[in-house]
Symmetry: C2
Subunit: 137 residues, 2 copies
């Protein structure tokens, strides 16, 4: 991790553990949930430190910040290219690795904006909420 930090940035225990915990789960936790995870290893860390470092890590490209839908921001320790699906009921986020490749779809659009990219996000219902929603029949 050290090699990714800028020259005036320090590798603190807080920073290292936040990244490690985020990389150890596949749940796309919110900042608050990351806080819960990290406190098991480092009980005196503050929520502000978690927010601050999630922002630092995402601007360094070490984590992905998911902010293109309703609800709280979520964070992803998996920076490999993949899409996400968000539960319409509870907001939980899952991974989609096999979506058709639509790269380049942003080229040649008619817009006065300078187009730089796109985000494709799926919506659905997570296993837990499926079970809750059809209890009968």
């Amino acid at each position: 991790m050290k090699e990714f930090l800028g020259k005036d940035m320090r590798l603190t225990n807080q920073r290292r553990i936040i990244l490690e915990e985020l990389q150890s789960v596949s749940t796309h936790p919110t900042a608050d949930e990351v806080y819960g995870l990290v406190r098991q290893k480092m009980p005196r860390i503050s929520l502000g430190t978690v927010y601050r470092n999630l922002e630092v890590l995402s601007s360094l490209g070490l984590v992905r910040k998911l902010e293109n839908a309703a609800g709280q921001k979520r964070f992803d320790g998996d920076t490999s290219p993949h899409h996400h699906i968000r539960c319409e009921v509870c907001g939980k986020v899952g991974d989609i690795y096999d979506a058709p490749d639509i790269s380049g779809i942003e080229k040649g659009l008619h817009s006065d904006f300078q187009v730089t990219g796109f985000i494709l996000e799926f919506s659905g219902i997570c296993p837990h909420c499926q079970a809750r929603q059809q209890p009968e029949q």
Copy 2:
């Protein structure tokens, strides 16, 4: 508009003017900006009434609600199918009417979620911010 309201819902002046104002612009205003527009016609309306009715109108399908964790919600009086592009600098939203059709892309994905749909949103830089960002050369 009356025909779209539920049987226990009333067509108030507030409700009608909010929809009319939203349909009269193509700027995808925030709730606060809708409040500003509506107050020109109805100076004593409250911000809470604007929020409440934007929610009602969007649940009836009369307006589109554009949610994003990166900023404020925005509202669209144009319910015809089209995509959006968001300015990375200022958050302004524009329309994209000529994106390639990717409907059906959500079918056959490998996920334990029940997949119901998708959102494709473009990102870019709006004309105003383009002018501000490259002042030289």
